[in-house]
């Protein structure tokens, strides 16, 4: 008569541990702001040819301060200001002619903090996303994310995000 301890449940315990590890170690989920860079060319794009009223220039210096169309500005008001510029609901003479003609020009210093740069980028992206969403609700009565591909493409064509990034200046100190 053998008197063994039943080891059959050991496998179940090990399985449980294995499944626990499989579930908890999701190899870090990655989220971020998706950007398409312009193809490389030797010469700088010339934005001087464009009409001044269509260009929304944002300069960020090495002290992380913003200069928007020649005026110092706080980052908190950037989103609303950008939306105003793109949509131009009052048809003002100094803002963009039409949303698809608006160009955002972003220039920073080599000493600008990445955090600030990304925040500016995020605000510009957010301005466009909000405008597209508003347009979607007005036209189709649905949020932008619930539209079909074609409807989204049509709205994107109306509010295209055209962002031109200039070669950074190098006044500030790099860390």
């Amino acid at each position: 008569m053998k008197n063994e301890i039943n080891a059959g449940s050991m496998a179940d315990i090990a399985f449980l541990l294995l499944i626990f590890f499989l579930v908890t170690t999701t190899i870090l989920e990655d989220k971020g702001i998706l950007v398409r860079l312009p193809p490389w060319s030797e010469e700088e794009p010339d934005i001087a040819k464009l009409k001044e009223r269509n260009v929304y220039s944002i300069l960020v210096n090495a002290q992380n301060q913003l200069l928007v169309r020649g005026e110092p500005k706080d980052i908190k008001s950037l989103r609303e200001d950008t939306k105003m510029f793109i949509a131009n609901p009052q048809r003002r003479e100094d803002l963009s002619e039409a949303p698809n003609k608006a160009i955002v020009s972003l220039k920073n210093d080599r000493g600008t903090k990445y955090e600030t740069y990304l925040e500016v980028y995020n605000e510009v992206q957010a301005a466009y996303n909000e405008l597209r969403d508003e347009e979607a609700r007005r036209k189709h009565n649905k949020p932008y994310t619930n539209l079909t591909r074609e409807q989204r493409a049509a709205i994107r064509a109306k509010f295209p995000l055209i962002l031109s990034e200039a070669e950074p200046t190098s006044f500030g100190e790099e860390s």
Binding site: L18, G32, I33, L34, L37, W40, K113, E119
Partner: protein, 155 residues
């Protein structure tokens, strides 16, 4: 009935399941070792900034990662405290990027290559100098789809 009775009388030995736990444990250890290793190899400190307009990266096999940040304390003696670029599991120069991109590209089936994304995992305190250099190099290498990795901003 008598047939069954006879069989029970003979009593064949059972297949031993004692080794099953060992096999599962082996699997478990394999997973533990493989998944932990990937994270531990970061040689730079990366604390990505917060943002709201986030897109999720779908296919992991189509993403390559570029890390930029200060070396971790362990590596500061050797490499100093200036922000550095890490590709794969070692510190690299900016001019090594095209090779890194190409090495990843050849592993991807040709039809999926236009979808390759470079994820820039950059510390928030890094200045734009090195990032501009990296961006220029990526553009020269023809890798135009990039992702500025960020954390969702808590409301």
């Amino acid at each position: 009935m008598s047939k069954f009775q006879k069989k029970r009388g003979k009593s064949q030995p059972e297949v031993s399941t004692a080794s099953l736990p060992d096999i599962i444990f082996m699997l478990l250890f394999f997973f533990m070792v493989v998944t932990v290793l990937r994270d531990a190899e970061l040689k730079v400190q990366v604390n990505t900034p917060e943002a709201t307009e986030l897109t999720k990266l779908e296919k992991k096999s189509l993403v390559n990662y570029l890390y930029i940040g200060k070396p971790t304390p362990k590596w500061q003696e050797l490499y100093g405290t200036k922000p550095l670029l890490q590709l794969g599991d070692s510190f690299k120069k900016v001019r090594d990027i095209p090779l890194f991109i190409e090495q990843h590209r050849v592993q991807v089936p040709e039809i999926q290559r236009p979808g390759i994304t470079s994820s820039l995992r950059v510390d928030g305190d890094v200045t734009m100098g090195i990032i501009s250099d990296v961006k220029t190099e990526l553009r020269k290498a023809g890798q135009l789809k990039i992702n500025y990795s960020a954390k969702p901003r808590p409301e």
